[in-house]
Subunit: 596 residues, 2 copies
Amino acid sequence: MPRYDAPVRDMQFVLHELLSLQSYSNLEGFGDATPDLVDQILEEAGKFCKEVTHPLNMVGDSQGCVRASDGSVKTPDGFKEAYTSFIEGGWPLLGADPEMGGQGLPYVLGTAFNEMMSSSNMAFGMYPGLTRGAYEALMEGGSDEQKAKYGPNMAAGIWAGTMNLTEPHCGTDLGMMKTKAVPQADGSYKITGQKIWISGGEQDLTENIIHLVLAKIEGAPDTIKGVSLFVVPKYIVNEDGSLGARNECGCGGLEEKMGIHGNATCVMNYDGATGWLVGEENKGMRTMFVMMNEARLGVGLQGLAQAEIAYQNAADFARDRLQGRSLTGPKNPDGPADPIIVHPDVRRMLMDSRAFIEGGRAFLYWVALHGDLQEKSPDEAVREKAKDYMALMTPVLKAFLTDRGLKACNDGMQLHGGSGFTKEWGMEQFVRDVRIALIYEGTNGVQALDLVGRKLAANGGRAIFSFFAEIDDFIGDNADNEALAEMVAQLTEAKAQLQDGTTWLMQNGMSDFNNAGAASMDYLQLFGLTALAYMWVRMAKVALEKTGQGADDPYYADKLVTARYYMERVLPESASHLAKLKTGAGSMMELAADRF
Amino acid sequence: MPRYDAPVRDMQFVLHELLSLQSYSNLEGFGDATPDLVDQILEEAGKFCKEVTHPLNMVGDSQGCVRASDGSVKTPDGFKEAYTSFIEGGWPLLGADPEMGGQGLPYVLGTAFNEMMSSSNMAFGMYPGLTRGAYEALMEGGSDEQKAKYGPNMAAGIWAGTMNLTEPHCGTDLGMMKTKAVPQADGSYKITGQKIWISGGEQDLTENIIHLVLAKIEGAPDTIKGVSLFVVPKYIVNEDGSLGARNECGCGGLEEKMGIHGNATCVMNYDGATGWLVGEENKGMRTMFVMMNEARLGVGLQGLAQAEIAYQNAADFARDRLQGRSLTGPKNPDGPADPIIVHPDVRRMLMDSRAFIEGGRAFLYWVALHGDLQEKSPDEAVREKAKDYMALMTPVLKAFLTDRGLKACNDGMQLHGGSGFTKEWGMEQFVRDVRIALIYEGTNGVQALDLVGRKLAANGGRAIFSFFAEIDDFIGDNADNEALAEMVAQLTEAKAQLQDGTTWLMQNGMSDFNNAGAASMDYLQLFGLTALAYMWVRMAKVALEKTGQGADDPYYADKLVTARYYMERVLPESASHLAKLKTGAGSMMELAADRF
């Protein structure tokens, strides 16, 4: 069975040394997040995930969830007990608002916990993950009464939350949805329709499930502009907070899927279920986007998290498996063969994964910190830039981290040879589980289109220009840093390529929108590669400073090697993405549809 | 459920128009393969695969194989009946030797049939695929008596064959194997040991199973140089050809795997089983390599074949699924939305797959034709070049076609959005099934090492230099072809990059073998990209000639569009592979093993 050990040291490096969390102690919640407390939380969280959720990962995959004829759903053995420990440990409250009973700690710290949870058991982690998203949406769009009614129990994880968007005939194009809401005399609505692919739509972990459901109010425009958001609890919550009648909604079936078997993916039937409007009529997408953006970061995180556990076990295998001899002579002459880690191509897979994981982690936490800043910074300019970054980086993070996360899982499996293909070793589960992350919360193609179609152009390109300016500042600040010179030069080239691609898009994407669409995925990849290059050079700078100050932790030397590997062995891909995107939509769009 | 329709037109193009099979009619077997017969076989084979094997593909996945307590194995419902039809149709005999009752048709034609079989049902196709490999090895290395005893029934598929190499502690490094062979007074051997991952090691499809087993004869060197090959029939074959006693070997268990559930992957226990030496003592690897090379082409073919069926169904979905509107205005204004094929990023996935599949098919069949030429050409120089090419191209074909085949399956699944992740649509099965092809018969990393470590250097680089010369000749011959000028220029650049990479390897790989290992996978990718570019320009040339001659089949115009797409949108990756490989082994090999 695979192991999981939380990468606490690397998380500490990113939180303390790269992002300097302590320098934000003037911000709400950050003051409490002293280095000691952060370290303690990381250690405890790592222990919880290693001991409680990780041992259930393979069980969850092999058992899956089971729906009984009454529509109830049983999660795999041990999930309920683990969930209870999770609640009792107070883990859901880490980042929740103090007025809802939460600890109000930084979002970026919660991100580290979420990464561990998702590495250790992705299917399990989705239950609280969706609850958190639903909670955030209610906090953003709900009335004070709704917040008071659902907030504390959702913050604590005692009640779960779900998001209900997709219908059989519409996923990406939600304007086509058919679910109806009919106003009632008491101010509530009767919701009728079918939603599909609802993660955790039904389960046996929580006393109540608070469904957030998109539907069209009778008479509303039959487009995306007629979509409203409703809160539809599984059990109606009485005035005193106790649970009342069972609502007219339930799980009509479970999907059979490639992976994440431990998570119940439900067909949800709403048969005149009682719901209450969240926010304004016909403005449902606005609030839902809060949840979706949160969820998109959470999905990018899953790509990283699965890569991490795949990498750990691949490294173990590479050290343990004796097979063949080093090309440069035996390294284990007394053994029957050398461990396969002596082979360069095995190293290639490990180093590719490592360079992605550490760079991706820095990128994810850096973006998450902007999530804190956009809310909490006292400086309006900082808040604006942080908000710009969140909007710009979210699609990149979601798609790039899942795309590369799948590659890392595949590499970890590949490194295992035939064992990787067997269920017994657990590696193929990571590939199957992570695969959904490229699809849900908007496919990676939709993310790419969001990036080039909306995010780039917003506010006259303010976000991307401020990202370029930040990189230029960094390059300028380090012009005299000889030890960093080669990497700074590589970053300069990467940034120039991204700028070149951006200019091409601005010049060619408006005259023919298909050029923008045709370039979108290569542009997103180019963006992701450049963002990670920026993270890597920043990390290398920190590592150089620490070793310069006499730090003898080999962690820093390793960081520098991995930085060099990223710049030499991963970043060169950006040139090919740039070349591809500049060819335009021509040959891509030319064939008639019936000729495929 | 997915559909499968054999791509007969494209196969015809490759066989008749690109490779001009009819021009080889002086070769044994080719004279019989008249264009009419070839077309008839393609049509009939397509019908067989569509109607008989393909409908069992999802059944095979969901049921898998079941081992009873007596060690017998039941294949999924319908497999036995389909196999009987396969035998009765005489399909296994297509390419088999006339003296064994076969039709002796060209190997390249059999390749087309194998592609269809593998597209329609990869797990099913593996049973006859392994039999074919075992048959070839016996024809190569067996005595006349062995050929006469096993050949005809194996050629006809009445008996199956297997290859037994891997043991629990050794896969790639077969010198470590422990299976022993003890000589008996009657000239036979008693074989004892355990082999794992034996595809079709036990099944209920055939009357007998002829196992080819690698083992060390008592007293032989305990290295790869002490490995001998044995034929170990499940039922001993009597002098009169009837089946005698059950041999002391059997299936000890089935592996639970990520995919190819319809194929029985067996743990095989040999408990003093009776076997007979094939070829010389201690020279078992020589004959086994015949089987492995055949098998490696067959595995590359699987990558292509799964890509083809994934692509077909992705194209259907892209035409059928209505969601959103074209970026350039509604294309289906009367419908609720446009089909998603209007979106450039959806096209990108389809065109990537198409450019890979058609280019990969040309490459595969071109290599397979060299398989015929190396045996059958009356011209020694042609035979030598063909043999050189087979050796050089086999690892490229195996790794490149499976690597890109997985990408195409993933793209086909991705294009389906959430539906792609559900079992119901069948797309995720292609991803799970094809995944093994990157691993078995030598992982793709092992192929890359074989390419740079053995194949490049063999005979002073004769094979690669003759490939360069062939491309140069083509470029020279087409210097005045204006319609082809842009593609010829792109090919010229690609070939220069491959040459650059080859030179780098020769200069740096010998001084530090780790440089060769570190470069190997990028070099293989660069090679594959260049080989497909060569195929694409050749195909474009044919298509231009045909349209110039007034052919109005839109097939040719599509071929030209796809050629352009490949050169613009796929080939640019070669530059990044070249840049990566030239960085050497430095950062890849630097970390201490315990620091991963």
